[in-house]
């Protein structure tokens, strides 16, 4: 527990010692704003809610979260610091969990900095702040799921660009697995059971359910399970690949 905390602190600080943190936050906020106001027609809809804002989170994350996750393990392997890191008296579990939590906390900071949207909508009308809170929690859970996938895939390679591209592709598949893009490919031949399983893996479906304002247990459990599964995979991949 103590070593998870120490690793968490170092990793989180390392985001801020490079320009990555600032570039990420600025671009995240700028894109969130542009999508909400121009593409999402926030004003023209005439409704006091943040749906146009949250609607675009899966797509924003698809591009930006892999950039947060790609360095987690690939950089350690590339620079050889993984040998130093994993010969310190820390368990592989706390190493994986500490790194993941740091990236997730960073995503939470970026998300928290979108508070002006919340203020704006509260100034303009009377939104249901319960729905907004649920959406924020859902968005954070979804970011965590994306990050856990990215962290695991980052341990597969020494090359951060490869980690980025593979993570973005994997996240895309998870995001749209409930949509015709994936299901249309499966329907002609796959059994219904498989189609249902694939459809139920869709981040979009689960996130949309949460955005309606109720954090249903299955949706929250879904994201937490994805995180747990990929953190476990992360530890296995690190063990297998660390010496390559």
């Amino acid at each position: 527990m103590h070593s998870t905390w120490v690793i968490f602190r170092r990793e989180l600080a390392s985001y801020f010692t490079t320009p990555l943190a600032y570039v990420f936050i600025v671009i995240f906020l700028a894109m969130a704003g542009a999508l909400t106001f121009f593409v999402g027609n926030f004003f023209d809809r005439g409704q006091a809610d943040l749906l146009p804002f949250f609607n675009y989170h899966p797509w924003l994350y698809l591009v930006l979260i892999p950039a947060l996750a790609m360095r987690l393990w690939a950089e350690e392997r590339k620079s050889g610091t993984i040998e130093l890191f994993l010969t310190l008296p820390v368990s592989i579990g706390s190493a994986v969990f500490g790194k993941f939590l740091a990236a997730w906390a960073f995503a939470a900071i970026a998300l928290a900095l979108t508070f002006p949207f919340w203020i704006t909508v509260n100034v303009l009308g009377q939104p249901d702040n319960g729905v907004i809170l649920a959406s924020y929690i859902g968005s954070l859970l979804m970011a965590g799921a994306f990050l856990s996938i990215g962290a695991a895939l980052s341990a597969l390679t020494k090359n951060q660009v490869i980690a980025f591209v593979v993570t973005a592709a994997a996240c895309f598949i998870f995001t749209v697995s409930g949509s015709p893009i994936v299901l249309g490919f499966l329907t002609p031949w796959a059994p219904t059971a498989l189609i249902n399983v694939v459809a139920s893996l869709s981040f979009l479906t689960h996130f949309n359910a949460i955005m309606r304002g109720v954090i249903e247990v299955p949706d929250a459990v879904f994201f937490v399970s994805v995180i747990a599964l990929f953190l476990y995979a992360n530890a296995v991949i690190v063990e297998l690949k660390k010496a390559d």
């Binding site: 010692t17 310190l88 063990e239």
Partner: protein, 310 residues
């Protein structure tokens, strides 16, 4: 002598390649073990297994009573490890890096500060504490790696090529540091510099192609040399005549001519490594040659190394 590191039948396979093949040895307190071998011999792989980075395919290493396979965290607490190339987080400063290492090793507050200060003093890092590690010279980076390994005052130090890439002054400093630490600790250093074995090691093991080929003191290793107890005679003149006379001595196996940049001499090789310096000096005196120099060879490690690992 208490055994601090005990390596038992350590074996590592990478697919079809047998990188380390049943290597066993032990290191006690006060010993500095030199780990010798050509590049790719399995030195680093062995060290990675002892320090718990790589899981052995077979066998294990026991560090201060803790088995690295069964109880890796307890074993890692007792080890200070400098991996090959002294990796450290490039965007951190030595201060933040050492603080991180201290925190991971469970030190906080004044205790952490005291340990960092001591490690910094031992490795003479004080002048670069606030610079990002990526901007430091190779010598300083190596010292950051050493400071990190020394921070918790471990009983066992495993140093993979600690002086590689350093200039002669820096090499001397690191060796002085290793010698100063030696009485309290069990130290393993890998190197392919044989002068380093002479300079700091109390024992040396040689591995090649993953197998342990020799385990002896540097003096014993040097004694295996063809040149052990050979006598080098340099004369003002008359090398031809002297060569013939020296060859007739009973203890002499062969006489070789040396011509190093105009500095001519005779190298008298003994039969079976016996001491022949008495015979040679007697002959020199009776023959009345004008001697410019006469020295006894202890034996050359590099030559032994080549013979063993070829």
């Amino acid at each position: 002598m208490a055994k601090m590191v005990e390596v038992r039948d350590l074996t590592r396979r990478f697919g079809a390649i047998l990188a380390v093949d049943r290597v066993s040895f032990s290191v006690g307190r006060g010993e500095v073990l030199g780990f010798l071998g050509p590049n790719g011999a399995g030195k680093s792989t062995t060290m990675k297994m002892i320090t718990g980075f790589l899981a052995p395919t077979e066998g294990t290493a026991v560090v201060c009573g803790a088995d690295i396979v069964a109880d890796p965290i307890a074993a890692k607490r007792r080890i200070g490890y400098l991996p090959e190339g002294a990796p450290a987080y490039p965007d951190m400063t030595p201060r933040s890096f050492l603080r991180f290492i201290a925190a991971v090793r469970g030190y906080a507050g004044d205790e952490a500060k005291r340990r960092i200060d001591l490690a910094v003093a031992r490795t003479a890092l004080a002048s670069v504490m606030e610079q990002p590690i990526e901007t430091l010279s190779k010598g300083f980076k190596r010292r950051v790696g050493l400071a990190q390994a020394l921070l918790h005052d471990p009983d066992v130090l495993i140093l993979d090529e600690p002086t590689d890439g350093l200039d002669p002054n820096q090499k001397h400093e690191v060796r002085t540091l290793i010698r100063a630490l030696a009485p309290e600790k069990a130290i393993v250093i890998s190197t392919h510099l044989l002068e380093e074995v002479d300079a700091v090691c109390s024992r040396a093991i040689v591995i090649a192609a993953g197998r342990l080929l020799a385990d002896a003191t540097p003096v014993e290793l040097a004694a295996r040399s063809r040149l052990h107890n050979a006598v080098r005679v340099s004369l003002a003149a008359g090398h031809d005549e002297a060569e013939t006379a020296l060859r007739r001595l009973p203890g002499v196996a062969a006489v070789e001519r040396i011509d190093e940049a105009g500095d001519r001499a005779l190298l008298v090789l003994p039969r079976g490594g016996q001491a022949i310096v008495g015979e040679v000096t007697d002959l020199v005196r009776t023959a009345g040659w004008a001697v410019r120099g006469l020295s006894v060879e202890r034996g050359r490690l590099d030559e032994v190394f080549r013979t063993i690992t070829a």
